[in-house]
Amino acid sequence: MKSWLTTTDHKRIGLLYFFTAFAFFLIGGIEALVIRAQLAQPNGHLVTAETYNQLFTMHGTTMVFLALMPLSASFFNYIVPLQIGARDVAFPRLNAFSYWVFLLGGLFLNASWLVGPLFHAGQLNVAPDGGWFGYANLTERQFSPGPNIDFWLLGLQILGISSLAAGFNFIVTILNLRAPGMRMMRLPVFTWMTLVTQFLVITAFPVITVALAFLMFDRFFGTHFYVSQAGATPILWQHLFWLFGHPEVYILILPAMGIVSDVLPTFARKPLFGYTVVVYSGVLIGFMGWGVWSHHMFSVGLGPIADSVFSATTMLIAVPTGVKIFNWIATLWGGDIRGTTALHFAVGFIAMFIIGGLSGVTHASPPADLQQTDTYYVVAHIHYVLFGGTIMGLFAGIYYWWPKMTGRLLSEPLGKWHFWLQFVGMNLAFFPMHLIGLLGMPRRIYTYSPELGVSDLNLVSTIGAFLIALSILLFIVNIVRTRTQGQRAGNDPWGGATLEWSIPSPPPVYNFSVIPTVANRLPRWKTEHHEPMRDPPAAPPAPIHVPGGSWWPMLAAFGLPILALAPLTHTLWIAFVGVAVLLAGIYLWAFEPFEV
C-alpha cells in the first residue's frame, strides 16, 4: 500500500491513471445513461430540469477532463518511456504530483454531487450546471448564485495544474531521455503524437487558467470581466475558452491517432505508410489547431471577414487529418492482416472518425453551422469524434498494451463481443442525433414534446446508449477474468516492432536491463537493410539504481484542493492552511535526497 502511495515509477503511475480515469469514465457513463433514460420518451420526468443541467454539465466535464485526457495520460506514462528506451520519465516525482493533483481535482469536482446539505441545499443541488464550456455571463454570481459554478471553476483550475506539470515532464522526457540512436524521426508515432499533445497542453492550458481566474475574480471579488453593464463583453469568455478549447480537441484526439498509427502496422505486418507525412500532419494539426477557434462562435455574429477566415482555416485543418486517414488505409492495404480486437478498434476508429470529421466539416460553413448550433447535430458530431474517435482509439491501445502492462492477454472472443456491441451501440446512440438535431431538437433541454416528431429516434438513441453500457460491462468482465485466467503474454505477444516489446511483460522496475541502441525506425523487425535488434538480456549485467518513493508530491498535491476550499466556503484561514501545505510539500520535495 505504502509503495503505491509513494510510488514514482512511471509504470505504476500509469496504472493508477488508468484505473482512476476508468472509474471516472464509469461515473460519466452513468450520468449519460440517466440523461438518455430521461430522453427515452417525450415529456420524461425521471429527473428535474435542475438535475438534468447538472448531469449534462458533469457528463461533459468528466468525460473530457477526468476520463479521456487521463486515459491518454495512462499510456503516456506507461508506454512512452518504454518506447524511447528510458528507465523512467525525466521527473518521476513531478509525475507522481500530476497524478495526485488529477485524483484530488476529480474528487473535488465529484464531491459536488454529495455535499449539497453542507451548503444548506438539497442533495443533487450543488453540482456544476453551466455546461461543460460554462458560458459567461450565465456563470456570473448574479445568475448562478449557488456553489455549483464554484466547484466547476475551482476543480478545473486544480486539474489544469496536473496537466501542465505532466506536459513539461513529457516534453523533456521525449526530447531528452531517448536511447542512443533513437532519433526524432525514429520515434514511434504514439510518442510523436504525445509530444505534440504536450506542447498543446502547455500552451492551451494557461489560456483557460486566465479565463477561469477572471471568472473566479468576478464571482468572489466582484470584478466585472464578463459583466456587460460595466462595459465588458461576455464574448471574451468565449474567445478565451475556445482558444483553449479547440487545441483541447486535438489534445483529446492526437494520442488516439498515435495509438492507431502503432496498432495498424503491427497487425498488418507492414511499416506505417508514409511515416514522415503522418508525423508532419500531426505537427501541422497541432499548429493549425490554434487558428480555428472562432468556428465555435459563428452564431455570435463576428462579421463576414472573421467568419470567412475561420471557415477557411477549419476546412483547411481537415486536410492533414484526411492525409492521415489515407495513410492508415494504405498501411492496411496489401498487409498480412490479423483481425485482433485491437485491430478491430483501430479500424473502427478510422471509420467512426471519418463520420465525425465529415460532420465537422459541415460546421465549417457558417450558414450551415447557424442551423446546427445548439442542436443535437453538434452532440452527434462531438460523440463521433470523441467516442467513435478517441474512445475507440483508446480501446485499441488498451487491448494492444494490456498484455504489456499486466503480463496477461485480454480474452479475444470477449473482446470481439465488446467491440461489436460498442460499435453497434454507438451508432444507434449517436447517428440518430444528427437527424434529431436537424429536425430541430435543441441540446441541453431536459425534455421535448411528442409534436416535435423525434420520439422514436430518441428511443433508438437511448437503446444504443444502454448497448454501449453493456459492452463496457463486458470489458470489465474481461479484465477481471484476465487477472486469473488470461493467457501469459511473454515479452511480445503481437510481434511488435517497437522497443516496449523487447522486454518482459510487465516490465521489471528498471524497464531495460541494458539500454538498447536503436538503428532504425522498426528496431525489432527484419528489413531490407537491418537485422532485428537483439532484445536486452533477462537479467541486468550490473545492479541498476532505482529511485525510492516519496511522500512529498502527494503532500504538495493536497495543498491545492485545500486552497480551493477557501473560496468555496468563503473562509480565509483555509487558504493559509492550503498555502502552508503546498509550501511544505514543495520544500520537503526540493531538499529530499533523490537520485534519479
Binding site: I171, P206, T209, T223
Partner: protein, 192 residues
C-alpha cells in the same frame, strides 16, 4: 538539490529544458492577461481612467530597480559558477532585496490608487490593471522566496559551485519575470 550529470539526448540539462517549456507556457498566461487589458482599454464606463492615475515617474523608478535586480542576478550566477560563494551570497541577497523593493513599490502604488478611488471593483480598468500587475507581483513574490531560499542554503554552506545549474534556472525565471514587466510597463504605463 542534487546535481544531474546524467547523459541526455540533446545534451541539455533536463531541468533547464523543463524550465524553458514552463517559460513558454507562462508567455501564454501573460499574453492572455495583457490581451484582455488591451481589449478592455477605453471601455470603462466610470473613472478613474488610466491617464488620471498612473504615475509614470514613480513606476519608472520601480522598473529601474527591477532591471538592476536582473543585473544582480547575472552577477550572482557568475560568482556561484566560479565558486566565489562570498560574492554569490551577496549578489543573491541583493537580487532578492531589489525584488522586495519592487514589491514594496507595488504596495505603495496599489494603496495610493485605492485612496484615489480605483479598486478591483471600480471599473474595467481596475479589474484588468490589478489582476495583470497583481499576477506579475505574485510571480515576483515567488521569485523572492526562491532567491532567499538559495541565499539561506548558501549561508548553510549547502549551495556551492556544484549547484550552479540551480542558480542558473532561478536566473531564467527571474529574468523572465523582469522581461514581462518591461512589456507591462510599456503597454500599460507608457502607451496610454
Amino acid at each position: 538539490m542534487t546535481t544531474h550529470a546524467t547523459h541526455t539526448s540533446l545534451g541539455l540539462d533536463s531541468r533547464k529544458m523543463a524550465f524553458w517549456a514552463f517559460i513558454g507556457s507562462e508567455c501564454l498566461l501573460f499574453t492572455s492577461l495583457i490581451s484582455t487589458y488591451l481589449v478592455y482599454k477605453g471601455r470603462s464606463v466610470v473613472g478613474p481612467y488610466p491617464h488620471e492615475i498612473l504615475n509614470i515617474p514613480f513606476t519608472s523608478v520601480s522598473t529601474f530597480d527591477l532591471l538592476m535586480s536582473s543585473l544582480m542576478m547575472v552577477l550572482a550566477l557568475a560568482a556561484v559558477q566560479r565558486g566565489d560563494m562570498k560574492w554569490g551570497k551577496i549578489w543573491l541577497f541583493s537580487t532578492a532585496l531589489l525584488g522586495l523593493v519592487f514589491l514594496g513599490g507595488q504596495v505603495v502604488e496599489f494603496t495610493e490608487f485605492v485612496h484615489k478611488g480605483l479598486t478591483l471593483q471600480t471599473n474595467l480598468f481596475g479589474c484588468t490593471f490589478f489582476v495583470l500587475t497583481g499576477t506579475h507581483g505574485a510571480h515576483v513574490t515567488v521569485g523572492v522566496l526562491w532567491l532567499l531560499t538559495l541565499w539561506v542554503r548558501a549561508l548553510q554552506g549547502k549551495l556551492t559551485a556544484a549547484n550552479a545549474m540551480t542558480v542558473e534556472i532561478t536566473g531564467l525565471y527571474w529574468h523572465f519575470v523582469d522581461v514581462v514587466w518591461i512589456v507591462i510597463f510599456t503597454v500599460v504605463y507608457l502607451i496610454q
